[in-house]
């Protein structure tokens, strides 16, 4: 019997009946446990959605008298929709800033060498892991020292700064996956770096840009820790909800939360589809290496 054959010997020795049984038992135990973890992850959202149709408030059991009353109330609720518009404006601005700065930062990290590059990388990615309260407060102090009052504009700068890290990570991953040969060919054939950027790099990065933009938009719409300290008299949607939580809660908040959930999931599914098409499932990378 050659060495190779010995290595390829079926695992009858390694897996006696007893052990197979053990594996089967362990697998079903793990399956049950995993199911419970999933229930834990989804239970609160499920409860939230169910009670958005409950006539008699956000608690009690079982939910009864199902009604669309809270949704009707929500759709005629002016301040909520004003805050939605505010949030959308801030998020749109944050997307522009985060994509512009993030793209340049990703390009610099991908292909330029400069002193302090690793420090720069850490700095850009810092807001990804730093508590929002620190980012928010330091920006607040900065704004106040410039006699700049709390407002949506300030919130926009806050989101832009906090989310540049997300955009940079996304776009950097996209650049790393990109074939360099086209760009090299373009440069070799006499195109300027500027032309190469617009005609080759940017179009090739299109999907990553859309994915990063969607992600930044969603995160900005949901952002609360940074916003909390920078907001003026005009609320964003999360801050409007926050203010209402203090005044007592009704299923109307469940209704808006349900809508937020549905929209986030929709955006995330689109993002995820694009993302898996461009760079593979490397969300982990984003989280693994802050």
């Amino acid at each position: 019997m050659s060495a190779n054959e010995r290595l390829a010997t079926p695992s009858s020795v390694a897996y006696p009946e007893q052990r197979k049984e053990f594996f089967a038992k362990r697998e079903s135990a793990l399956a049950i446990f995993s199911f419970m973890v999933f229930s834990f992850l989804y239970l609160p959202v499920g409860v939230l959605i169910v009670y958005s149709f409950n006539r008699d408030g956000v608690g009690g059991f079982p939910p009864k008298h199902l009604t669309l009353h809270w949704y009707a109330q929500l759709f005629s609720d002016g301040p909520i929709w004003d805050s939605v518009i505010n949030s959308a404006l801030v998020a749109a601005g944050a997307v522009v800033v985060a994509l512009t700065v993030g793209l340049l930062a990703a390009l610099a990290l991908d292909r330029a060498d400069f002193p302090g590059k690793s420090t720069f990388r850490r700095l850009v990615l810092l807001p990804l892991i730093l508590p929002g309260i620190i980012t928010g407060l330091s920006l607040l102090m900065f704004a106040v020292s410039l006699q700049f009052s709390r407002s949506l504009t300030l919130v926009f700068f806050g989101h832009g700064t906090a989310l540049v890290s997300v955009a940079t990570t996304e776009l950097f991953a996209g650049l790393q996956k990109m074939e360099r040969s086209q760009e090299e060919a373009s440069l070799d054939l006499g195109a300027t770096p500027w032309q190469t950027f617009w005609r080759i790099t940017l179009p090739n990065l299109r999907l990553s840009l859309i994915a990063a933009g969607l992600l930044v938009f969603t995160l900005s719409m949901d952002e609360i820790a940074v916003t909390f300290f920078l907001i003026g008299s005009d609320n964003t949607l999360p801050l409007e909800i926050w203010a209402r939580l203090r005044r007592g809660i009704t299923p109307e908040i469940n209704a808006i939360s349900t809508l937020i959930f549905v929209v986030s999931v929709a955006l995330i599914l689109v993002w995820y589809r694009i993302r898996t098409r461009t760079t593979g499932s490397e969300v982990q990378e984003l989280l693994e290496r802050p």
Partner: protein, 281 residues
């Protein structure tokens, strides 16, 4: 391949943005921590009083220790939920792997506020859980200790951070070469030995990354205690938040923020160097 000018054009704007909106504000926060407040005005007089206060008044230390306890609880709980889940999905889920993976991702990006609020409606004294218990005649009176307790904060934050912990764990388990596990079995190691001597050590980098995430994010959290915690679960960031609000002592708040910042960054450095040492890749 690219000219120096091209590279400068690339790196200058992000550097500038980071300098203006990140470095400068952090520097200002650092500066604030050495100033003081008199008669409601911030006096630019350099001193160490704020830091002295942090050491003299035990409240801060007590709250910091509580915060770390809560963070440790959240970390352990998220790991004990996330690890078996990641293990199951990596080794046993088969063709359902991709679907299950996306199912973990979805809650990750769903509004923090929405999830915190959901727990509030579940745990409240007139909440869903109490309604359920009374419906089953397990309790007659509403149980009030679910909400506004450190327990509620740990539960809510565990719910929020479990997917965060899961992702790096899953990634590291997926990266383990399967032939190493087969080799371990073939060489006669028991399943237990295989787990503790092959799988667990190889998944340490992911474990560490996940734990760091949960711990650091909890350390700076102030919304959880505001939403579902009571006075007994005030965390360090809540003190900062009140110092920047009603209590109006920005310099002291800045000093605490600097401490949080230093703590966070040293934790990140520590885990990064540990991760490098434990990494077999």
């Amino acid at each position: 391949m690219y000219s120096r000018a091209y590279k400068t054009i690339l790196s200058a704007p992000p550097l500038l943005w980071v300098a203006v909106f990140l470095l400068l504000p952090y520097a200002l926060m650092f500066a604030h921590s050495f100033w003081l407040v008199r008669d409601g005005l911030i006096i630019h007089q350099w001193n160490l009083q704020n830091y002295a206060k942090l050491f003299e008044n035990h409240v801060y230390l007590v709250v910091l220790l509580r915060t770390m306890r809560i963070a440790a609880g959240v970390t352990l709980l998220s790991l004990s939920l996330g690890y078996p889940l990641a293990y199951y999905m990596s080794f046993h889920a088969g063709p359902r792997k991709e679907l299950l993976y996306q199912l973990v991702i979805v809650p990750l990006w769903v509004s923090y506020l929405v999830r915190g609020y959901a727990w509030k409606t579940i745990l409240g004294s007139e909440g869903v859980l109490n309604g359920f218990l009374q419906y089953l005649h397990l309790t007659r009176e509403p149980v009030s200790f679910f909400l506004y307790s450190p327990f509620a904060v740990v539960l809510t934050l565990t719910h929020i951070y479990t997917p965060f912990v899961f992702l790096p764990l899953y990634a590291s388990l997926e990266h383990i070469p399967r032939h190493l596990i087969e080799a371990s079995h073939d060489l006669g190691a028991s399943p237990r030995a295989t787990f503790f001597r092959v799988i667990l050590p190889l998944s340490l980098p992911g474990l560490l990354a996940g734990a760091t995430f949960a711990f650091v994010l909890t350390l700076g959290d102030f919304l959880g205690p505001l939403l579902v915690g009571g006075p007994s679960s005030v965390m360090i960031a809540n003190i900062v938040q009140s110092l920047f609000g009603t209590a109006y002592d920005w310099p002291l708040g800045a000093a605490i923020s600097v401490c949080i910042l230093v703590l966070t960054i040293s934790l990140l450095f520590l885990t990064e160097s540990l991760e490098k040492r434990w990494s077999f890749r």
